[in-house]
Point group: C2
Chain length 427, copies 2
Amino acid sequence: MDATAYVRDIALAARRAASQLALSTAAVRDGALRACAAAIRAQAGALQQANRQDLARSGELGLSEAMIDRLRLTPARIEAMAAALEQIAAQSDPVGQTISASNRPNGMRVEKRRVPIGVIGIIFESRPNVTADAAALCLKSGNACILRGGKEALHSNLAIASVLRQGLASAGLDQAAVTMIDNVDREIVTAMCRAEGLIDLLVPRGGEALIRAVTQAATIPVIKHYAGNCHVYVHAEADLEMARRIVLNAKCQRPGVCNAMETLLVDQAVAETFLPQVLSALDQAGVELRCCPRCRPALAAAGLDQLAAKIKDAAEQDWRTEYLDLVLAVRVVDSLDQAVEHINAYGSAHTDAIVTRSIAAAERFVKAVDSSSVMVNVSTRFSDGGEYGLGAEVGISTDKLHARGPMGAEDLTTYKWIVTGEGQLRG
Amino acid sequence: MDATAYVRDIALAARRAASQLALSTAAVRDGALRACAAAIRAQAGALQQANRQDLARSGELGLSEAMIDRLRLTPARIEAMAAALEQIAAQSDPVGQTISASNRPNGMRVEKRRVPIGVIGIIFESRPNVTADAAALCLKSGNACILRGGKEALHSNLAIASVLRQGLASAGLDQAAVTMIDNVDREIVTAMCRAEGLIDLLVPRGGEALIRAVTQAATIPVIKHYAGNCHVYVHAEADLEMARRIVLNAKCQRPGVCNAMETLLVDQAVAETFLPQVLSALDQAGVELRCCPRCRPALAAAGLDQLAAKIKDAAEQDWRTEYLDLVLAVRVVDSLDQAVEHINAYGSAHTDAIVTRSIAAAERFVKAVDSSSVMVNVSTRFSDGGEYGLGAEVGISTDKLHARGPMGAEDLTTYKWIVTGEGQLRG
């Protein structure tokens, strides 16, 4: 099979659909989203049947319990997919907005107007609901999408895409606006990565290995996040009770997700007071603690000898690790600047927080920490599209170009310069 | 030499400078720009001396007259460089602007705030004034830059960068904010292309071969434009006198630049009337005409037999060619939709224009043409940063991600999400 030709044919069909979408009204696109939601509800049985085919192969593919859980389509999850489509339909239209406009001295009007990007390629693993979410956000923003899911969810993904295409057709839109690739050959991914002039943007979602492979192979733009190595820094002027609550929430409320805290940084000015209380509470919550050499003396001074004996020594590698588990690295830092240095050196530019009562400290931290989300006196767990008011999210970007942090439908748009005049000539 | 290590050392120094710039005020950065302007004026003699070293090698390097002209630093050009720095200093500050902000139901404030990107790599050829312009726009927007110019301008570029670094130092800024690479080894470019986590963005400027090489090698974001294959479409409802003037301006006013017209599309409804007048005028202006088969009959019908005999037949390749010269491809199209199809198939997404009196036709063209600049009733020659009111420009992007069309200082920024609360926890 010629993977390049295979991808080209799919992409050319998607481009024709994208041309149609670029001329479509929001009413038509939103109507299509609602038709897709209705089709998903009407065909829930067929979706579950396809899903059972994937589940039947999960043992053979050696999937873990967690992966099987992500793969499973329950009636509740199918309803959630349909509801998400309706919510996206109800959002305001990002397409056609005037970003800026000015009248030039020669009478020309120069406008920057928001438009769809064109064709978005989404490469993902496991969870079949990504199919519906990603397709819906692309459709909302006037883009066609080419989806390539993992082989473990192939039947489920194809069934969802088929239902969505029925929804598109019933709204009078080209079905090629949503294409699920049914070929699980790795060469297809490579061909997508090199589809210059055919695919405008790739969004890989999944494990770090997948994302690195896509980034290395790509000659077209990629937006991604590798990891969420998130920090909370407790400043010298922190409200320590607030800090304790934020630390526990950021670590324990859902440790397996990318915006959970992985390293706690405590200012030396409050280390002796704060470390005994926070480390005790984390220990009681079942968190394994990997600490710098300055933590043990603080525990011993507070008479917490048992805990001092229990905590482990942090190695350099711990500062770089996204545990996604009830494990926490802890370091005492000399100053706000050292905290910033640590975060910028070891972090992943995802989400980092400061707890402080000082406006000046907060502002310095916000400016100096080079991350997509910087939190002041709130838990890192809030960094997602829903909490930011974006509705659904295509993903989270730790890149700096085009979109940063949680990405909504607006982040799947670009702009055009539109210059209007009455025959102006360049002199 | 280890090119990777060489680039890493330079980039790490640039990152430290970028960290300082991220905390700097606009007053300090603008002061540095004015100090740079003063230093350029004060050391004009040294700049010309360095330039003479490059000019002396131009024969040996086999440079064309046009290249030698671009390379030459005259007193007027040195003064223009200094004046551009002062103009950039006078622009409004793009850094720190609030792009959007909202208060969430739980009381958190979520703000998108504009911030510098970090370290920008600029890879360019020939013209030494790019050194000053690019460095100034990076400094304005709070970014450090790593510049890699062509070997033909090495002495001039190093001299300009040295003067700029004196300006930075006199304003108390880290000189590593502007670094000109003095090594002309090709491996340096490859290492820059792969400097993940070190260089945040690459902007290649120059011939298509250079830009393709950078894009192919890059694992970090690249913003670029390959070519300017620009079109003017004369619609059925065009003011034909306006159309004639726009066509002549777009082709002849400065044919060697990227926003000059390369293909004229004429609607069949006006072909018989318009082609004789516009092709005669273009011929008189010395333009070589490469025409589709429908042009010659229109000329013959108007009695222009000599011109009908003189025009050449357009080949498929002509629709793809950026002549950068007094040569024009001409095609009669059946409709607006066929014009759009031609432009999207053969164009370079740079700048494309329609001439029409119809609002509906203009709006359809604007939506359907997938180009960074779409002009209505004005010459394509207006698509540049100065004409759009951006001041200087870093380059023109025909990409769709991050920045599209002429790029000013604002396009060298990204944003952060800043979330502020009073101890909010995720439930």
